[in-house]
């Protein structure tokens, strides 16, 4: 093999090694970032526990003044069952949005009910502690924070050559939570 052939071979070998290094680097980097996005999604589970607790607190008061078969109570019961179940976290995040609306409707109905109006303690709960607790837990479990992180990751993944390389090697886009998906 003459000098030119060896030089060309060495040049191609260098290109292959450089490409491999870039690909491995891209894969490792984006895999790590994807793992961080998934970690953020998993930590949403912890805050959803607080939502479940607040839901139980609301039901405790509601069952004293409305029939257990009341559709509004049933909606909240169903939401809590789904939030406590084995559904994927993104589905739970969607149910959490529905729970916010259902809990709000139930609180309004309770506030207007004669039973609560005649009960100083429960009226205090329905107009004071429960709405404030629900609001606080909703702030904590705000899926938009996760969505923002996932969107940033996806734009990095799709907007850079490194990201494209990582996608070729199997790194997928982060899932997004969208209200439209569930038809809620």
């Amino acid at each position: 093999m003459n000098f030119t052939a060896r030089a060309v071979l060495a040049f191609f070998l260098m290109l292959v090694l450089l490409s491999a290094a870039a690909a491995i680097g891209a894969y490792r980097g984006f895999s790590g970032e994807k793992a961080q996005v998934e970690l953020a999604l998993n930590s949403l589970a912890g805050v959803l526990e607080t939502r479940i607790e607040m839901g139980h607190n609301l039901l405790t008061v509601a069952k004293r003044h409305l029939s257990a078969s009341d559709p509004m109570i049933q909606s909240v019961v169903n939401d809590l069952a789904e939030l406590s179940g084995q559904a994927p976290l993104l589905d739970k995040a969607r149910v959490n949005e529905r729970f916010t609306l259902d809990a709000d409707a139930l609180l309004k109905a309770l506030e207007a009910s004669p039973g609560v109006q005649g009960d100083e303690r429960d009226l205090g709960y329905v107009t004071g502690l429960l709405p404030r607790g629900l609001e606080q837990s909703a702030k904590w479990a705000d899926a938009a924070q996760y969505n923002k992180a996932a969107l940033e990751f996806n734009s990095r993944l799709k907007g850079q050559l490194n990201g494209r390389l990582a996608m070729l090697l199997g790194v997928r886009e982060a899932e997004l939570f969208t209200m439209g998906d569930s038809g809620i």
């Binding site: 953020a40 930590s43 912890g46 607080t50 607190n57 004071g128 502690l129 992180a149």
Partner: protein, 267 residues
């Protein structure tokens, strides 16, 4: 100098003793629901000190508005197990908004009093004023008076003469529950969540992890590193003094800067 220092020391000592006293007073009653009269809480603490010093059994009360679906029995047993010297304690947990309660007994208290007797005392002295009348002070005073008598009878010893809780046990006025949320961010949550600290911790973790995920790894090359790489490339492949054609250092640095953007290597 010495004359000035002594009064200062005395004030400091008085302040410290008051502080220690107030800490000790607060120990027997943890009123997270803010429904117990402050003076009653003080009397329960005093009674607990008497029973603890003379008969070896301490009294504890924990109030909350809600437990978030947790079982009051399991919650109380867990809370008792986390208290120091729990084998000598009787802990009564009162959940105002759920209208439920439970008494947990440490091993020595259980041996001395028996679970059945404490349950009977709760039914006879606590249940009606708590659930029907919502007279929380009266319910607690009646129960702890009866319990202290039971402890004295089981121990075969009398407590020093005192009038603790008597006034409250006879009162019939109903004191409404405080249901407005107090100002402190954790304290009002403590009353409605089984473990507010854990909830706050989870919320903080979620915020931190989403922020980290949003920012990405943060790894990338600085301007200086890009310029350095551009310069090294210029030295290897760039224009030479011996006449070899090629770009100058600035072009190489600019090119490296462009390529780093393309690959997403910049910070």
């Amino acid at each position: 100098m010495r004359k000035r220092f002594i009064p200062f020391l005395l004030v400091l000592m008085v302040f410290c003793s008051f502080w220690t006293f107030s800490q000790a007073q607060a120990a027997a009653v943890d009123d997270q629901a803010a429904v117990i009269d402050v003076n009653l809480a003080g009397e329960i603490t005093e009674l607990s000190k008497l029973t603890e010093d003379n008969l070896g059994i301490g009294l504890r009360v924990l109030t909350k508005h809600f437990l978030g679906g947790a079982d009051v029995g399991a919650f109380t047993e867990k809370a008792l197990s986390g208290m120091s010297g729990n084998e000598n304690l009787v802990l009564l947990t009162v959940i105002i908004g759920e209208e439920s309660y439970h008494a947990a007994l440490g091993s020595r208290a259980q041996e001395m009093l028996g679970r059945e007797k404490v349950e009977n005392l709760l039914t006879a002295h606590f249940r009606q004023p708590f659930i029907r009348d919502r007279a929380y002070d009266r319910a607690l005073a009646s129960f702890f008076l009866a319990l202290s008598e039971q402890i004295q009878s089981a121990a075969g010893k009398k407590l020093p003469a005192n009038k603790l809780l008597l006034d409250y046990a006879e009162k019939t006025a109903v004191r409404p529950a405080v249901t407005s949320a107090p100002a402190s961010p954790v304290s009002w949550l403590e009353g409605i969540l089984s473990d507010a600290e854990n909830s706050v911790r989870n919320a903080d973790r979620y915020v931190q992890e989403t922020r980290q995920a949003e920012e990405g790894s943060g790894k990338g090359m600085s301007w200086f590193q890009i310029a350095l790489i551009g310069f090294v490339l210029y030295k290897i492949f760039g224009r030479k003094k011996d006449g070899r054609k090629g770009c100058g250092p600035f072009s190489w640095i600019l090119g490296t800067w462009g390529v780093s953007k393309f690959f997403g290597w910049r910070k």
